[in-house]
Amino acid sequence: MDLSLRGFPLVRVFTTMQNFFQILVSGISVGMIYGVIAFGYQLTFATSKTLNFGQGEALTLGALVGLTVVNFLIGMKLGTFAAYLLALPLVFAFGLAQGSVVEWLGVRQAMKTKSEAGWIMATIALGIIFKNLAENIWGKDPLKFPSPLSENPLTIMGVNIRPMEIAIVLGALAMMLAVELFNRRSIYGKAVVATSNDRDAAGLMGINTSLVITFSYALSSLSAALAGVLVAPITLTGASMGAALGLKAFAVAIIGGLSSGMGVVVGGLILGITESLTGFYIDTGYKDVPGLILLLLVLSLKPAGLFGKAAIKKV
């Protein structure tokens, strides 16, 4: 009697800590997804001061194309993991193509006529078209994306971590690292940075800056498509999966700063973790509130973002 009474608070503290870390883990993986999508916003903002507001739909399409390819390959008697790995290059290629189309149809013309709002409307419109397309091809009901990794969680110090959550973190970091290396090491990457610095001067170097901007849109959609196939196995896949993610990643890009590579990782983690914590400790109904409050705070106190250098162009 005495023992159990004395033991009770300790156990409670222990499970409380466990819960906390559990929440943290899911917050981190969701946050990294936000981070990758936000990274995509940064890529196009850097080169052209424009964003693809259909970024969420780029994620949706990437996930759905991935789903179709994975299911096809599984139908060819391939293992889920092998099918997933083989599907990745196709998803990336699709992302590159989709992003190029968005730039071509939605952004190029608006930039040529120096229209301030044209690209906003055009990318939103294209996003809606892509969503409708997805609904017609894949239906409106959520689908199950076969998980390439075991769905049994690993238990580390009492905290359950799904292997896919680890894959999300690693995949997101690998994507950002690859782009960073490309920018620093290759002459083409330097051309991208030069275009971001000063488009006219980059043109004088013989750099085709329109092509650089198309490429940044392609890469931006590729990162969204990657986010799509990373998150799909742990959520439901469907035509409307990207809308909320795209919007939250936009908040992350604002919080972290549209010009700071590190900002989107930190911003993503902040949003992902506060969401999970609020959802668990307060109410899932309120889980979006702290992130949005943070967004409002950042916008009013530090409009360039927590890590941003330059001011955000008024849109």
Binding site: A191, N197, G203
Partner: protein, 240 residues
């Protein structure tokens, strides 16, 4: 080498240049002088494709480049060190220089030996060598000017356009810039130089054009222009 004929250009509905014709022969240094707002920078911007000319011809080695996008013009061998230096602030000095050789590094122009040229730039501008890993945005104005010129030279250009290389520099640095231009002239680099320091520009140039309100007001061998009473009164008395 570079022949501009009846060039009309401007910004939107505002015409700045009215039928300007300029000839830059191979291996020569030609300067374009004139007061502020005369259209000197606009001329260079139209030649390098930063703005689209309304009409007129711009012949580079016989090819009409008028209206081409600037990256294509650069790939034909035209280097432009623009007004305000326009270096890439978040990239190191070395990367700025390598970007000057972008068409060579990507197969659009004969590659040659980019590394040797890089070292030659560091010899020509020792200050850049000291700062080669520094971000261009952290350089002083004079150093940025050196970088902008060196970056343009990295193209191994057929023609080099230099826009106000002395702008905003301390007198000692202005001298240094002109000494560098004189050295480039000895190396037989074809140049079109736009300058506010008309006297210094005419000292170093072979030939000069005087631009006034978007029209040519005179031209001639630099030596002759320097002694022209009208040019002296308008541009040499006050500016130097």
């Amino acid at each position: 080498m570079l022949k501009v004929q009846n060039l009309v250009a401007g910004y939107g509905k505002v015409k700045v240049l009215h039928a300007v014709s300029i000839h830059v022969p191979k291996g020569q240094l030609v300067t374009l002088i004139g007061s502020n707002g005369a259209g000197k920078t606009t001329t260079l911007r139209a030649i390098s494709g930063m703005i689209k000319p309304e009409s007129g011809e711009i012949l580079l080695n016989g090819t009409n480049i008028a209206g081409m996008p600037s990256h294509e013009i650069t790939r034909l061998g035209m280097a432009h060190s623009p007004e305000g230096r326009r270096v890439f602030p978040t990239l190191p000095v070395t990367d700025n220089l390598l970007l000057g050789a972008f068409p060579r590094l990507t197969g659009a122009r004969p590659k040659g030996d980019v590394d040797t040229d890089l070292n030659r730039m560091f010899e020509l501008f020792p200050r850049l060598k000291e700062r080669k890993d520094q971000l261009a945005g952290t350089l002083s104005g004079g150093e940025q000017q050196m970088l902008a010129m060196a970056r343009a030279l990295m193209l191994q250009p057929e023609v080099l356009l230099l826009d106000e290389p002395s702008m905003g520099l301390a007198p000692r640095l202005v001298e240094e810039v002109f000494a560098t231009i004189a050295r480039l002239k000895t190396a037989k680099i074809t140049m079109l130089l736009v300058e506010q320091f008309a006297a210094a520009a005419l000292d170093v140039a072979d030939f000069g054009y005087v631009l006034e309100n978007g029209r040519l007001a005179g031209s001639g061998p630099a030596e002759k222009l320097k002694n022209d009473p009208a040019v002296r009164a308008a541009y040499l008395g006050a500016s130097h």
